[in-house]
């Protein structure tokens, strides 16, 4: 009982220390603050938006930014400020849960392949390689156009497609620890495979998999907003940055504000997640800079 409590305390302390290391560098601090800002904004923004995000008013079309409409209005007379601060909610939710799914199935399959090796490993890795060589955008578009663009389709689809790279990382990390003495001695002690995975392998590969998952979060956000931009993501009138940019793009020679506001929102969130993931990797001592973004 006390041992368990101590373990928990140790874990909390480790999390605290990792965050402290991340925040000790300016880039990590900036990334964490941007991410925190966006998360708080996404949770609380419905409480204080000034206007209705879907209220269409032709008399207010394409108004320039003013004290009344801070970021102006779009081609349907909707307030751009309202839509911009609401625009990250779907993106953040979908990509967060998508990354979690990617992390879970990618990590589990990777550890499994690393552990069993042999024929099964070969076959699975061949299939993963084949999946990797289909461009993500083609696969995503196909799934989304045939199954629909609800979040219930998008989350597992994104989770599946961004998890295949994690399989490789988890497999390589498992390969690194599998031959170590403590695994051999655990086997000799008669531990079951499940117990070895949970108690010996997982603590040693967890960091690598989590860093990979954090990285994938920013790529998934990029993929998700590209889908929305192409018209295959969130359906209107839901406020979403990718969709807003694509709608306002045609009229940007008259109304640049309707494009710049969502661009600022999306870019700052992606940069925030990216800086955070980088700082996270550095805090855990994992160097990803020489790897290709696959």
């Amino acid at each position: 009982m006390t041992l368990e409590k101590e373990q928990k305390k140790n874990n909390l302390q480790k999390v605290y220390e990792v965050i402290k290391t991340m925040a000790s560098k300016p880039s990590g601090l900036i990334g964490l603050s941007i991410l925190l800002f966006h998360v708080i904004l996404a949770i609380t923004s419905p409480l204080y938006v000034p206007y209705d995000y879907k209220a269409i008013d032709p008399s207010l079309m394409l108004q320039a930014p003013s004290s009344e409409y801070w970021f102006g209005t779009d081609s349907l007379g909707r307030d751009v400020f309202t839509r911009t601060i609401l625009g990250g909610r779907t993106a953040l939710t979908v990509t967060f849960f998508g990354s979690l799914i990617a992390l879970l199935w990618g990590g589990a399959l990777g550890i499994f392949c690393g552990l069993v090796g042999g024929k099964i490993d070969d076959v699975v890795m061949r299939i993963i390689d084949a999946f990797l060589s289909i461009p993500w955008i083609l696969a995503m578009l196909l799934i989304v156009s045939l199954l629909g663009t609800t979040t219930l389709v998008l989350i597992p689809a994104l989770g599946f497609f961004y998890g295949k790279g994690i399989v490789r990382v988890a497999r390589a990390a498992t390969h690194d620890v599998i031959a170590k003495d403590f695994i051999v001695s655990a086997r000799a002690r008669g531990h079951s495979n499940l117990s070895i995975i949970w108690n010996e392998i997982l603590p040693n590969v967890r960091d690598a998999i989590m860093v990979e998952g954090a990285m994938r979060w920013s790529w998934m956000l990029l993929g998700f907003s590209s889908l929305s931009f192409l018209g295959f993501g969130v359906s209107p009138p839901t406020p979403d940055w990718g969709l807003m940019i694509s709608n306002a793009r045609g009229l940007m020679s008259f109304a640049y504000w309707a494009v710049l506001a969502p661009i600022f929102g999306l870019s700052s969130l992606i940069i925030g997640i990216n800086l955070t993931a980088d700082a996270f990797a550095k805090a855990l001592g994992i160097d990803r800079s020489t790897k290709a973004p696959v």
């Binding site: 461009p135 955008i137 156009s145 199954l147 940019i245 661009i263």
Partner: protein, 318 residues
Amino acid sequence: MLLLVLKRILLGFITLFIVSLITFSGVEVLPGDACTTYLEREAYGAALEACYERLGLNTPAHERYISWAAGVLQGDFGYSLSGEMRINDVLGPRVKNSMVLASASILIGIPIALLLGIITALWRDKLPDIIISTITIFSMTIPEFISATLLILIVAIWLEWLPGIVIVPTGASISELLPNIILPVIAISMIMTAHMARMVRSSVIQVMASDYVQMAILKGVPYWKMVFKHVLPNALLPAINVVALTIAWLLGGVVVTEVVFNYPGLGRLVIESISNRDLPVVQALAIILASIYVSINLIADLMTLMLNPRLKSLQIKK
């Protein structure tokens, strides 16, 4: 050596075979087929039967796969659904246009990436590195459609230097295309250059910290001679593979960029065929894009093998 090369090529073909199986069965498993989308609401009874008959969809799946795969191996992708045109005729000019765009981006991107990567590594943590690294981080994280939209807004609309969208027909010649592709090429090479520059930087930094470079410094080898003779050859070799993977990964970004600039390439065809649910074209595109990916990887592997004598003997021993 020859055996190794053959093995790599064989592995590439196996990958492509699995890709063809995945796309074929994916299209089979997902709800809706060519006929139900083509006929829409009239998809029942005799009309549906006739359509199945005409497109040959009433034969079992494995037979269709074999006849389709046999066609692909002979370079024939069959007929598209919407226009009822031969897919080869649809694809031909698109492939050419996309190749022009991609090769221009790569030709401009790689030298700049090398230069920036080497500069940032040699002046590590000094002012040039800080400035260039910050810019590269920005340009590699921001999605292509944002940088492309910003480029159009600033260069085409505000400064009025270049045309914002491409308005050439699909079958335009290269000389007609060239003035139009400046902005798309900048948009694509920006993100590619940033990724590659970062990898070159860390690769050069790793080699600079190695024993033999330290030894060369201690021996008093002139700085630039050391950089060009000892550091760069060793640092750039491992980068080839990573650069290839990056280029392949960026294929997805090319699709988006082509849509933003209205460029008549493969990327726009992807969007068009998926909007029309033209599944035969989608399958053909999947195979083509996957073979580009596989061949880029293969070329990179072979180049690393040929340029690195150490790796050669290592592999043979294995």
